[in-house]
Amino acid sequence: MVEGLYIHIPFCANKCPYCDFVSFVSEPSKEYLELLKKELELYKDLPFDLKTIYLGGGTPSLYPTELWREFFKDLDTEGVKEITMECNPESYKREDFEGLLELGINRLSFGVQSFLEKNLQFLGRWHSPKEGIRAILEAKSAGFENLNIDLIYGLPGQTLQDLREELKVIKDLPITHLSAYLLTPYEDTLFGHLWQKGELRLPSDGQIEEMFLFLSEELSSMGFEHYEISNFAKEGYRCAHNLLYWSHKEFLGLGVSAWSFINKKRFGNYRNVEKYKRAVLQGEKPTEMEETLEGEELLKDYLFVALRTRDGVPKEVLPNIPDHIREFFLEEGDRVRLSKRGWLLINEILLELWDEVANP
């Protein structure tokens, strides 16, 4: 059953130096929304039991709300419990938020990234700390109950004191969810290039550990559960859509570069808009890449996603944890999961586990 629908909006007002998602600095195209609907048509034979919809990007909030209204007009959202839209803080006003709420969108995710001016500048964001706060408060007063903010940490020179300042602001905000991402210099991003040239000095792994554990503790004392490596939620507000990804549930991705996981297959759409458009207009599925997960590959993939969560995996999935990484695991009832130190070292641990899976 396909339980989630992801919709990728690849347009942005500008390209952030850390972002490795497919996005183009361009006006949002009305035609693109039509293509998305055409693409969905191509999959009408799939067994749907939609529970979540996620509008991500890029910047979905670049579209005026009227266009979203048109888009949602003939989209069957009955039975869908969570519809999230990613928003830039500077995009929408209070009336817009009200409009979105009417469409059935019930969760907003703000790309705030930081509440400190110096960090926003470093990250190349165009909004101010104030605008971030304003967006959240306006959305709340418009009637949104479920609000997320994205935060980036692990910036060059960042201190625990900086993080403390962020948390002071967060503490008073009416948010239910927080994603805190470690800055990662991905290849083909501006930061990636700078990092490779040695011009971006990131914190040491010891400092990262310190910040990670600090955030985890501070946020939990504020009532947030640390339920995935980078995600924190108030009780009852875990992101249902993202949990699909981490529990091997089926989802369909629409739009440029969007990925799906259906029938033990991961498949991704064209990253090139023109190729995507051509395929969809010709009535062909715009699939560019495909990965079929069989046997141990399926298990490796499952470990890759599921160990990211606080729920971990059933014990029978990991009957033989090698001794030298045992210390990073915790057992709870019939489940086994990574400790916080384990999360910090998840890449190393996964490599060990993959070896174990390949050569039991």
Binding site: G4, Y6, H8, F21, Y181, L182, L183, T184, S204, D205, G206, I208, E209, F212, I229, S230, N242, L244, Y245, F251, G253, S257, A258, W259, S260, F261, R266, G268, M289, E291, K300, D301, F304, V305, R308, H324, I325, F328, W343, L344, L345, I346, N347, E348, I349, L350, L351, W354
Partner: protein, 593 residues
């Protein structure tokens, strides 16, 4: 007939223009036209051309004014000094070529003395006089003062510009005596080079001293007693040209369907099996590899591929020695013996380039001689062969060389410091002229293997030159330095070092290992000790974070691939106990400076 033959070599320091002069001689005597002269005719191998040095000897026959001139080429590097001496033994004279801009250098002196030992007539030639920096008068004075030659005999030349070539050719005819020898006497031919030819088999280049040899002659090798029937004789003109026979005084090649170049070793004497000579040409000694290193297939190549490549390569190089060896870190490979560092580099390059096999080469080491208390002696080619129990050892000996260094005077101080640091014992120190000093030291070969070349070149901005020769084994206060990773000894990392240097080397080594061993999920302790006594120690703190921060639906396949890439890197690590060591850790061990 003998009256009209001249056999000669050109001896020179590297880059002083030997190959260019040889080319000019070939061109001038009409053996080769300018068009045929592909760069440098005598250097047949690609690598030789690239490095500007000659490795394989060859002998070329030219005709000039009714004379037969045999030019016997000599390799120009210290590793091949024995081959040089054999080539010179085949001659009556030698052109001593000195670069007008560089003056006399270490190999000039070394080769000069080798030629004098063979009683050769020396024709001194100053080359490159066309260059703006040329100082022919200073060089001429050096030749007089240092080598004791008559300055009036010096010929000024520029091989590149064709200046002085005719004068050199005339000097060869007028000053070098014709060879002696009796064509009727029993055959006596000195092998001064060999190579493997897919059609002729192993081919020997020889100087016939007595008697004659022709197709059908049954020949015998003096050192082994092995017999073969000659299928072809001839000379390079410079093409391989068949003759009816080779007679006393002549230089040429002999082919006899010989399968292995090891059957015709340089320095050995060929005689007639039916009518053998009483004694060989004196001076034969089998090539002895002085420098050993492990050669292993690199990622993507197999042991079998390496073995095939080595076998094929060795067909053409009788000086190379190899035996299989297994390293806990690098798997199956070979311990390979070379004449010296340059020989090692050449073999490596040829294996990779011509035989297309990727190599990992461990740091070169010397052969130690271990004397046990029970009066047995063992030669150790690989430090990991050392016995665990140090108590049974009476002494360890290591090879020493005599090294001659020639340098501009301003670098004398720092070079003396270097030599002292390298455990050198000064034997002499003199000024060749007001600006140039010559130093002689006795020094362990192992110290030369360890970046001596790079150091002396950088200390002297490339101006100092050196040449060395093996003089024998000496007992030294050597100890075995053991490396422990988390208290476990790693045999593959142990090595032999002089006691005075043990502390410094131990410290450098653990620091290097600390830098090359990637941080693990737990703390790693790296220690070095003499026996079990720890003298240096470092901690590698455990890794604290390696996390994929963001992972959603569209990321999974991509982020898994990034992780797979990390895994590729880990493949090269070898597990020691719980610790994973990268190959660099092993390779860094002997490269500590």
């Amino acid at each position: 007939m003998l009256e009209r033959i001249r056999n000669f070599s050109i001896i020179a320091h590297v880059d002083h223009g030997k190959s260019t002069l040889a080319d000019r001689l070939l061109e001038y005597t009409g053996a080769v036209s300018r068009r045929e002269l592909k760069e440098q005719m005598l250097d047949t191998l690609e690598i030789e051309r690239e490095r500007g040095i000659t490795i394989k000897l060859q002998a070329v026959r030219m005709e000039y004014k009714g004379y037969l001139l045999h030019l016997i080429d000599t390799p120009g590097h210290v590793d091949f000094s024995y081959e040089v001496s054999r080539a010179l033994a085949a001659c009556e004279g030698a052109i001593l070529l000195v670069d007008a801009t560089q003056g006399i250098e270490a190999q000039t002196v070394a080769n000069f003395w080798k030629a004098v030992e063979q009683d050769l007539v020396i024709i001194p030639v100053i080359n490159k006089i066309d260059l703006p920096a040329a100082e022919p008068e200073r060089v001429k004075k050096q030749i007089e003062d240092i080598l004791g030659l008559d300055g009036d005999d010096v010929i000024l030349a520029s091989a590149k510009e064709g200046i002085g070539i005719e004068e050199i050719l005339n000097a060869i005819i007028e000053r070098i005596p014709p060879p002696k020898g009796d064509p009727k006497a029993p055959l006596k031919a000195l092998i001064f080079d060999s190579y493997y030819d897919p059609y002729r088999g192993a081919v020997a280049f020889v100087r016939v001293f007595e008697g004659e040899v022709k197709p059908g002659t049954r020949i015998k090798l003096f050192s082994t007693g092995k017999e073969f029937e000659v299928t072809e004789v001839g000379a390079q003109t410079p093409k391989m040209t068949k003759f009816e026979k080779l007679s006393a005084g002549e230089v040429g090649y002999i082919a006899a369907s010989i399968k292995d170049v090891r059957d015709i070793r340089v320095g050995d004497t060929i005689t007639d099996a039916k009518r053998p000579a009483d004694s060989p040409v004196p001076g034969f000694r089998p090539a002895k590899p002085m420098v050993f290193a492990g050669l292993y297939p690199s990622e993507g190549y197999t042991f079998e591929e390496l073995r095939d490549a080595l076998e094929k390569y060795a067909i053409n190089d009788a000086a190379i020695y190899y035996e299989p060896e297994t390293s806990p870190a690098l798997g199956m490979g070979f311990r390979v013996g070379f004449l010296g560092l340059l020989h090692m580099e050449i073999v490596q390059e040829r294996l990779e380039r011509e035989y297309r096999v990727g190599l990992i080469t461990t740091a070169p080491s010397v052969v130690y001689r271990v004397r046990f208390k029970n009066r047995t002696v063992k030669e150790i080619k690989n430090p990991s062969e050392l016995p665990e129990n140090w108590g049974i050892i009476e002494a360890i000996e290591e090879p020493f060389v005599s090294i001659t260094i020639i340098t501009p005077k301003e670098y004398v101080g720092s070079i003396m410091n270097l030599c002292q640091e390298k455990r050198g014992i000064q034997k002499s120190f003199k000024y060749l002229d007001p600006n140039t000093a010559m130093l002689e030291y006795e020094m362990p070969l192992s110290e030369i293997l360890l970046d001596f070349h790079d150091k002396i070149k950088s200390l002297s901005r490339g101006y100092a030159s050196y040449d060395y020769e093996f003089i024998g084994y000496r007992e030294e206060d050597l100890v075995r330095l053991n490396i422990f990773i988390n208290n476990e000894p790693v045999d593959a990392l142990s090595f032999i070092v002089h006691r005075d240097k043990a502390y410094r080397r131990a410290r450098q080594l653990v620091e290097k290992l600390k830098d090359t061993i990637p941080r693990q999920l737990f703390e790693v302790k790296v220690q070095a000790g003499i026996g079990s006594k720890i003298i240096a120690s470092e901690r590698i703190p455990p890794l604290r974070a390696n996390v994929t921060a963001k992972c959603y639906g569209g990321d999974i396949t991509r982020k898994k691939k990034l992780l797979e890439k990390q895994k590729e890197g880990k493949k090269r690590l070898k597990q020691f106990g719980k610790v994973e060591l990268p190959q660099e850790a092993f390779l860094s061990v002997l490269k500590v400076d």
